[in-house]
Subunit: 198 residues, 2 copies
DNA sequence: GTCTATAGTGCGATAGAC
DNA sequence: GTCTATCGCACTATAGAC
């Protein structure tokens, strides 16, 4: 019974099932470990806390995102560099992940504690992207704004992706979001600004 | 000794001083209450927890933001409506608030616990803005994107405002940020998109 | 593991404003 | 007297020191 492979994966799967069945709060770490054929102690050897079992994937996500940004054309405008990173995530959020992502999102939105953790992950994604841009000699404030904008685009894309039914639509939705953003800015009349400047 | 006016204000001032002097973790609620001439118990009558003493202002901020959005031209494009809300915050972040905002920001960035709380406040600001836009018949996904973008602009503006030395520069910086954002989007070449579409 | 310090809560008592 | 902000005490929970 011991030393079955992929303890982390089994714990994640068990946690997702139990959270979906009974809710996050009503599930104990012992329940999760039990279903995975492991002990409470082993759970905490792999995850720092109960929440973290839902967020391990975001580490590899961040790596893929940053790697793609690093590989982007050095002459690319800042926002393009970030979007190249988001594009790379389309490979991670493929059709096979759609159902998983939906279930996970439903759990997260049901619990403020988890929602907070997600905000933190998005913020660190943005901070890392800004840092990468700064390495490319993009001025700090511009880097921050471009990074935040890119992460917004990612978040909007992800949200729409799980809200609709085509599991393969991530990349298409990403471009829809980019078009929406462009038109939002394009329709923004700067006479709102100039009026306020006088 | 009892019944001195403005208990909340005194508690906020004491907290800010002590956090700046000794750090957030090294300050106990009893210390704060003591300096304000009150007791620990009274502190918790006014604030749900220790962090909240640094965030009460954000409630009135949210109200001013939403009120300005409500008052905006009904025909205005979505992003303009949100920016009208941000413009209104220039009145709150006037010169007299500059030093306070700087001190507060330094404290918040020194403690992850506080940083989280700030992320949550920004997220609820975005959610409220999106809700207001939806009331104006802006489609949900567009509303979310416009709201997030506006809150980003606010955050970038605020960050630059406290990083520089002119206490009256909030509105000017806001327009700088808007120009930066426009140019970021303008320089974004959509052949990145079309290439990925093929 | 124990021990300590602190966050945070419930409830009843008290001091002052009216 | 009423009303309410403040207070005092006893409690639980938890994080860290040892």
């Amino acid at each position: 019974m011991r030393w079955q492979p992929d303890a982390v994966g089994r714990l994640q799967a068990s946690a997702l099932e139990l959270f979906a069945e009974r809710g996050y709060d009503a599930t104990t770490v012992a329940d999760i470990a039990g279903r995975a054929g492991l002990t409470r102690r082993t759970f905490f050897r792999h995850f720092t806390d109960k929440r973290e079992v839902l967020f391990v994937g975001s580490e590899q996500l961040l790596q893929a995102f940053l790697a793609a940004m690093e590989a982007a054309d050095l002459d690319a405008p800042p926002l393009d560099t970030v979007i190249v990173g988001v594009e790379a995530l389309a490979d991670i959020f493929g059709p096979e992940r759609h159902q998983f992502a939906r279930t996970r999102a439903a759990i997260i939105s049901s619990c403020p504690e988890l929602h907070e953790r997600e905000l933190i992950k998005l913020a660190s994604m943005s901070a890392a992207a800004a840092e990468t841009l700064r390495t490319r000699r993009v001025p700090g404030p511009v880097a921050t704004l471009a990074a935040d904008t890119g992460v917004n685009v990612f978040h909007a894309t992800f949200t729409r992706w799980i809200a609709q039914d085509d599991p393969a639509a991530f990349r298409r939705i990403l471009h829809e979001v980019l078009r929406t953003l462009s038109s939002l800015i394009a329709h923004h009349r700067s006479d709102t600004d100039t009026a306020a400047l006088t």
